[in-house]
Symmetry: C2
Subunit: 346 residues, 2 copies
């Protein structure tokens, strides 16, 4: 087992003492960084996902530039459905990725198969191996995948938006939805295990579209499958579950038994801590980074004050927004790192 120099994240996830709250940011490798834009200007998005050299380069950028306590491998949740048979395209200036062969009815399932992660997603494993080697133990590396529901939403709709057809499938044809969700679940388990074997110290499941479902549909079509994934990985690798806009279901999310639960910014982290006894990750409003430095420190200090001591990983409540000033991200990271010393002086 490799040794990680800055292992704050791992210690907090394992319930061990840590001298301060670790911080990393969802979408920390991204277009708010000029250094990312330099790479992006020369390569299209999917090439950056598929070329370990490029993926690794932008994965490490925020560790060097803003000083976060963990790296998260640069990739996209939609590469898994692509490996399951869907045709993924990202056209410049055409509003996000899409699938040209969406799954709208049971017969469309014939084009979907379990992912052969060792082969078809080998490039992700290679990117992780290269990144681990280049990080050389400085900070832990996080792998990730989308939740089965979030991936189904994209696979059925074919693109981002309101996911009306995906939601309609749950009412209209639940058996097709369950069949696809079960395939996604077993592929996600293989995919996350492969990432861990390649060197990811932690994995995160992104349920980015949790919030478009009612609580009862959310239990049936999302949490049930996330639970299978968490159960399959327990004891192997720490798992963080991040469900956006699903605070109505925090008690059920607690029952998943994940190592940590990501919390968006539409709930006080103290209220979330009252419902969830595991480690919490979050929950600063990403828009705060568009405010001035004092407002950033004040809002971050509020999260740190309200968060449960010893079981908190600092993060935003969602990804870094496009257009976020890099200097503001640095102000935030520096503030969080100095918080414990600052607190003791007060």
């Amino acid at each position: 087992m490799k040794k990680v120099e800055n292992d704050l994240l791992l210690r907090v996830l394992n319930g061990e003492p840590a001298e301060r709250t670790p911080i990393w940011l969802m979408r920390q490798a991204g277009r708010y960084l000029p250094e990312y834009q330099v790479v992006r200007a020369r390569h299209d998005f999917l090439t950056m996902c598929r070329e370990p050299e490029l993926s690794s380069e932008v994965t490490i950028q925020p560790v060097d530039i803003v000083g976060v306590d963990a790296a998260i491998i640069f990739s996209d949740i939609l590469v898994l459905p692509e490996a399951m048979g869907l045709n993924l395209v990202v056209e410049e200036g055409r509003g996000g990725p899409r699938f040209t062969n969406p799954v709208r009815k049971k017969s469309d399932l014939s084009s979907v198969h379990d992912a052969d992660c060792e082969n078809d997603l080998k490039y992700v494993g290679d990117a992780i191996r290269l990144t681990v080697s280049r990080l050389n133990g400085r900070v832990p590396l996080i792998g990730f995948c989308g939740s089965p529901w979030t991936l189904l939403a994209y696979m059925v709709e074919g693109k981002g938006g309101e996911f009306a057809h995906a939601r309609a499938m749950l009412y209209d044809d639940p058996s097709t939805a369950h069949e696809l969700l079960q395939m996604l679940t077993s592929s996600a388990i293989s995919y996350l295990k492969m990432q861990h074997e390649a060197g990811a110290d932690v994995v995160q499941i992104f349920d980015s579209w949790a919030g478009v479902l009612s609580p009862s549909l959310y239990e049936e079509f999302s949490l049930r499958y996330i639970k299978q994934i968490v159960d399959s990985l327990r004891g192997e690798v720490p798992v963080i579950v991040y469900a956006k806009a699903a605070n109505h279901s925090l008690k059920s999310i607690r029952d998943l038994g994940a190592s940590a639960v990501g919390v968006d910014w539409t709930i006080g982290i103290d209220e979330a801590a009252g419902k969830i006894d595991s480690v919490l990750q979050g929950n600063l409003d990403p828009a705060v980074l568009f405010a001035g430095d004092e407002a950033i420190r004040s809002a971050a200090g509020r999260v740190l004050s309200l968060a449960p001591k010893g079981r908190h990983i600092f993060n935003l409540g969602h990804g870094v927004l496009a257009g976020t000033p890099v200097e503001s991200v640095k102000v935030l990271v520096d503030f969080v790192k100095q918080w414990n010393a600052f607190e003791q002086k007060r």
Copy 2:
């Protein structure tokens, strides 16, 4: 006072007995209707808002075509900020309306003034008068405006999206936000009173962007101002408050004392009824209308079964989605209208 033939909506809002649950749908006048598209093909969106003849025509279409129990005047929440000095443009195929002179800092407030509703929004009053005359008492007419927060979000950002600058203003420069919100509140009160005087039987306040705020910011920057509006209209005209994705604040929303509260689809209407003692409006998932007829009836029946008897107005949890089949909307409306008779037979 004019007499309304089908006054189910008004009776439910007044707490009087009604023989069945009334139904209308947010965005019922819109692009899912071929008859709307015929009008829209000949006129741009803002012209349709500004010409009482056109606005009235599309307002009445869903009463004739799908048989809803109320009309809602065709307009846009952004015509109020336009009347307050912002320059509103809607360019075809350029992704929604925008303001060319957004309010980003205190000095930008110099371009904002109270709306002179009697003059600058006279066209809305004219559209309401014409619609009331054409409806000839068949169903009640609903007027509306955006909540101060939702309008500020658009005024600060200049366009739709994540509203990062608007959210940042609340952390960075709350005094400018409060100043603008107070202006919006007094203009919204004048605007809704003008709509009522022109003939609107009911008014609805749309807090469409409630969900991007944390509960504490939501109390301070949205509910506080909605309360002023509700208080100013109490006893004059029934007020429905619809806040999307703000179920974390249902108890505070109850304390507004509105005649009815709109409920989105991310909470069971029975759970909402346990927190709110007024009339509830909602809460069918709009995506259900992309499912088959039996799934539509089943999902609508579930809402009707769980809703509080005698204090429920059937609606979707959000607006009718683009691409919704008209036939499905008819299936829904017919089902809800027949529900009480159907229930008695069971």
